[in-house]
Amino acid sequence: MTVNGWMQILVFCSIIILLVKPLGGYMTRVFNGDRTLLSPVLVPVERALFRMAGTSEREEQRWTTYSASLLVFSLAGFLVLYCLQRFQGALPFNPAAMGGTEPGLAFNTAISFVTNTNWQNYGGESTMSYLVQMAGFTVQNFVSAATGIAIAIALIRGFTRASGKSIGNFWVDLTRCTLYILLPPCIILTLVYVYLGVPQTLGTYVDATTLEGARQTIALGPVASQLAIKMLGTNGGGFFNVNSAHPFENPDAVSNLIQMVTIFAIGAALTNVFGRMAGNQRQGWAIFAAMGILFLAGVTACYWAEAAGNPLVHALGVDGGNMEGKETRFGIALSALFAVITTAASCGAVNAMHDSFMALGGMIPLINMMLGEVIIGGVGAGLYGMLLFVIITVFVAGLMVGRTPEYLGKKIEAKEVKMAMLAVLVLPLAMLGFTAISTILPTAVASVANAGPHGFSEILYAYTSAAANNGSAFGGLTGNTPWYNITLGISMWMGRFFVIIPALAIAGSLAAKKTVPESPGTFPTHGGLFVGLLIGVILIVGGLTFFPALAVGPIVEHLAIGLGQTF
């Protein structure tokens, strides 16, 4: 580890911390329907959209209607995306003349983008037409992110409303989030990326002759516009196969920093939105602190593991950290940092190959996802995932102050606990369940590139990434097979909607409750003690479940390398 490396990490953290308050303030105003800087331009637009959709900002929904709207919207998105892929050969904007994708892949990819996962069992430049990328993926990149944020806002309303029946209007939240929060920065970011050298064209691929005389096709496309939302919406689906390791998708250190910051920006600011709406920003900072501590622990571990390097390589007389699978223009610190950010935040974009990380270095992204993507997390998803853990934490430890557990004045009772446990349960079910089946299924094991624990990690990583709606791939695993297309698709679906529906049910149940005024007898949830407690519960309840799997994967691999053993 170097001072320079840590300085870069520090710069990143400082920018995020500085962004939390202003961005949080802006987002709060948007969701409260207050006037913002952009209102003069956007209010007429949103009014027109509401009128067309036959809704109004005054129309409120119960949690059931809210969920139904969300499900219908997601289903429609899935169908459109599936059809676009299947029939892309017959559709315009297809300069490379791509044929229709086969059903398994189309199914997997459609779910992947609707669930904000962006798991890619395909190489973008060699499979998808411009139309699919733009009208399909980019659209879902926006609306799946907006959906996640809408759910988080609905859950916050559950905590902050008293004796209410409704938790907001899905269509209004979705529209406002897209119009006010996602679109404006993306327009600016697109221009910045273009300035930094990212292509933005509908032109055909370029044929070039290299110095050696070999002919090469250089893939192009509307990259910059997709790149902007890929990060800001924590989608992570790369335009190119190697994602943000590709020089056209991440040209230099500046674009790399912008990408890292935009992954975390909205997720981090949502903690502040939560605090503001709850009437006490310290509540938001407490959650941010819990996320921050887990994040820094992950960065430290990952950076340390990568910087320490491979003892087997050292034995060959090559010193230094592990540079396998990393871009020299980013180096070890920024690759490790990017890996931790992208998995902490459910983004899934990569600027280095996680498969090539050291065993422990690769375990950190795995753990980040296993914890349910609550460390900043996917936009919206991170906050509502974290709030589910908060509910469990408050329930487990809140009894210790001698009262029925409360959070923000809302009593946490059987229904909330039931829903939170359901949501927490679905992740190990998908991650461990499908991994367990795959590790004994010969066709599934055949997709693995490496033998031994590392091969196990590849399978485990795939399902973990899918269920956590992360979308980053460990690499090494051939995912485009019927088995993986279907089961990873199911994992993504479970990991998204079986968390969303309980979260919205909790929102509905909490909104209907009275708010108990705070007193000295109230469990304090904005101090260091609570932060520590929350981290403890996340690690024990969310993390310990995966200890056996980690033990026979990265941990044993790490120990074996230390003993000079390979598989």
Partner: protein, 696 residues
Amino acid sequence: MSQSKSPSLMDSSILAPAIAGAFKKLNPRTLAKNPVMFVVAVVSTLTTVLFIKDVATGGPSLGFSFQIIIWLWFTVLFANFAEAVAEGRGKAQADSLRRARTETQAKLLSGEDRTTFRLVPGASLKVGDIVLIEAGDIIPSDGEVIEGIASVNESAITGESAPVIRESGGDRSAVTGGTQVLSDWLWVRITSAAGSTFIDRMIALVEGAERKKTPNEIALNILLAGMTLIFVLATATIPSFAAYAGGSIPVVVLVALFVTLIPTTIGALLSAIGIAGMNRLIQFNVLAMSGRAVEAAGDVDTLLLDKTGTITFGNRQAAEFLPVKGVTDEELADAAQLASLADETPEGRSIVILAQERYGVAARDTHGLDATFVPFTAQSRMSGVDMVGSAIRKGAVDAVLAYVNRTAAASGTSGTTLATRATADVVRNLQGIAGQIARGGGTPLAVARDGDLLGVIYLKDVVKGGIRERFAELRRMGIRTVMITGDNPLTAAAIAAEAGVDDFLAQATPENKLDLIREEQSKGKLVAMCGDGTNDAPALAQADVGVAMNTGTVAAREAGNMVDLDSDPTKLIEIVGIGKQLLMTRGALTTFSIANDIAKYFAIIPAMFLAFYPQLGALNVMGLQTPQSAILSAIIFNALIIVALIPLSLRGVKYRAVGAGALLSRNLLIYGLGGVIVPFAGIKAIDVIITSLGLA
């Protein structure tokens, strides 16, 4: 049911039946009520069946499997034992109650004028029947006195041997089946049918037969069931992981890992904690009609406390003599004492005592004075004494002033100067003093002799010692206290300030009491109150915790969700403490149970995979001897910790009246951090012992 010390845990009268009870509770239907322990029983059965099959076919490491199975079953038995012990403590109390419920003959009145009765078995009485109960009779069932007055021995339920008065009308009209009339007679209308009397309900409550899960308990059970499912996933997927690595893991080891990981500690002790909470109340002579009420007590935000009896001693006492100008203290004290000699009320007594102690007025014998005492009446609102040539009156200020004026007018004809002495100046002086007293929360009593105004006796509501500190304590716990009083706002404010309550409701009526409760509840607060009269019933029913006094009416007792057998309203404060303790104990043991898992993973995971991934031996941080001893130690620790924690779950976590933050950090340190560390030490110790014994 007296407040004798509860039987200790080691009492053989409880232990022996509890051990038997532990086996009886293996009944699947009983076990099914506790999801965690039910799951343990299921996997124990599964491994037992597999073991028997292995024995028949000569499977490997039978001794090790046998030991694991033994400890699995012990885990279930220990959980049952914990519950049985908790129930056993209640059973002892139930037995003494049951003795009170002996078969009685009742004198069922019949005829229009209820002059005749016939003897019927007490059990055959129906609601609405009217019975005659005479001295020496056992009251056959719960009822309401409609005629008569009698002294009743209620020691069967309260443990208090002094008889109490029961009479028709008013707030002392409820009688309880199983208690005995000592003198006089009563006509009682039966209000409970046989089998549903107060004593029957008490028996059911203390035995835990009617125990329903409380809201928090249900939520906690869901959490525990959820965690159990998570660990099902964590362990059920291990065989495939092992198969991928080319190894296999015996079922018994998987079961051992699973059982140690799921929250067996809290699962085993959960119902014992609940029963013990009810028992603690019962030892306190408070009966909770449901566990829900005990839990609600812990959540209470606002306590409504009656001023009289709770905050102040029931009676006002003379605090000072304040003479008008021109009259000495001694003169006033002397007159006041004379006027009060025959006054047997506590106020009157306190005047005599004050005059004697503070002003040295010697006690006088009423007989030697040749005086006629004038008793207090509601019309005159005065009392006093007429002696030869002198009359003294004391009473409400306006009544005494009117009396002085009357006297002056009557004696005006005789030409004395008395009337002139009660000048406007003196009247103003007296009214000034009286006003000051009233503003200070006291009651002024004017004293006049022969038409002369002498001064004022300052009667004061005496606030109980230490009550201020109790309220401060409650405030630290986040509980607001509201004093309820019939006094005027001025008086109420003064006493409220002196006692240190947060708020008061003056000139309280049943209606505004009810309104106050509703208002607090609309703010999301939980309200506790106690009451005894029929007019308290609506408020008792509305309150989240309504403690009815045992001396109260049937209506009040039906409306409340707790009954205080000692009829001591101060207990409300203790009841809140007991409720909090119950919740805290559950939280502490849940945290402890979950925190334990870290050590158990480190014990079992390396042992489990050692055969095919020897590198994982590095995770054996405790340095456990062999894989078998590691697994066995973990499962033994898991079982023994249940037994070790039974006393704590029965006694409850120590409760301190400090803010939630301080309480949390303390408990978190003990049960959270302790829960992480203790199993590391415990498992290591057990490992050393069993390897030295050659068990593994």
